[in-house]
């Protein structure tokens, strides 16, 4: 159950930041920091609302996925790439192990890996779709 909550939070964090950043034109820093402050501030003010596991991890996942949402729409045109990256982030986050635990920037590194992996797959799918259409013609 906790895993699915983190997955939903990942999706929400990435898409909401992408929307604030690109559609509302707030810019990456303002969009990401606002989402991070809202999520962390919520659990700072209401620490007993969920289990200690979720209280500790939801803000981390939302902040991490907000880095994915900092991507520019000029580079990532499809919002679904951001959405899938947001879903992938919590999986890598939970598997990232203990070696780099507590290192500043590890959330951003996880975000970059999530986005680059989904970006490659999206380009592969789009290329195949385009070549498929060309063959049909």
């Amino acid at each position: 159950m906790n895993f699915f909550i983190l997955i939903i939070c990942g999706l929400a964090g990435a898409l909401s930041t992408f929307y604030l950043n690109n559609r509302l034109g707030l810019g990456g820093v303002l969009a990401s920091s606002a989402i991070s402050v809202i999520s962390a501030g919520f659990f700072f003010l209401l620490p007993g609302l969920t289990s200690s596991y979720l209280t500790a991890n939801i803000p981390l996942v939302i902040m991490g996925t907000s880095f994915i949402g900092m991507a520019s729409q000029k580079l990532i045109q499809n919002a679904w790439v951001i959405a899938i990256s947001g879903l992938l982030f919590p999986v890598i986050f939970l598997l990232s192990g203990s070696f780099f635990e507590g290192y500043g920037g590890s959330l951003g590194t996880t975000a970059a890996i999530s986005l680059s992996a989904v970006y490659v797959i999206s380009r592969f799918l789009i290329r195949n779709k385009t070549s498929g259409t060309a063959v049909k013609k």
């Binding site: 501030g41 990232s96 192990g97 951003g108 996880t110 680059s116």
Partner: protein, 185 residues
């Protein structure tokens, strides 16, 4: 002749991402599904770096020193809030980023004003390092300077790609640990 200054950020990013994935792989080696997933992810990430990435050489200017100072300030402010006010690292970095995003509104015509918020926010990620690992403000000062320097080196690389600032901060923190390790040995 290969474009070495332009390629340097690419080499740094590849090193950081693959070190991170290798550490995750070693940690999950006994879990077959996790190992399979991480190997697949490593291959896919490798394919990302194999694709043609155009990286022009960075042109340095005197104002870059301010970006390094901004990253250091961001790191120290975040670490200070986290340590002194018992805030979570996420909240401390978020507040630092939120405060930095006001800077461009002070003088909308200034290019420097637009460069400072990402530098401060990037430094803030370095300042999220756990106090137990960092050991104190000296380490964060060093991490802020190295993060700012890496940010300047990577100024033309991966712009608009999510996770760039975090990866740079991760590089800054890792490099600081390495510097301290070499100095202490």
């Amino acid at each position: 002749m290969p474009n070495l200054p332009g390629r340097l950020p690419l080499v740094i990013f590849i090193l950081l991402h693959f070190s991170f994935l290798t550490a995750a792989l070693v940690d999950n080696i006994q879990n077959e599904i996790a190992t399979f997933f991480l190997v697949f992810l490593t291959i896919i990430t490798g394919m990302f770096y194999r694709s043609k990435i155009n990286l022009p050489s960075p042109k340095f200017k005197p104002g870059d020193i301010l970006s390094i100072a901004a990253a250091t300030l961001g790191a120290l402010a975040t670490f200070g809030m986290h340590l002194e006010f018992n805030m979570s690292a996420v909240l401390a970095a978020g507040i630092t980023g939120l405060m930095s995003s006001v800077i461009p509104y002070i003088n909308p015509k200034s290019d420097l004003g637009k460069e400072l918020p990402p530098a401060i926010y990037c430094g803030a990620f370095a300042g999220m390092t756990a106090p137990l690992l960092a050991g104190g403000y000296i380490f964060i000062l060093l991490a802020g300077i190295t993060t700012g320097s890496l940010l300047i080196i990577s100024k033309n690389a991966f712009n608009g790609f999510g996770g760039k600032l975090g990866t740079i901060a991760f590089g800054g923190v890792s490099l600081s640990f390495l510097i301290l390790l070499l100095l202490n040995s």
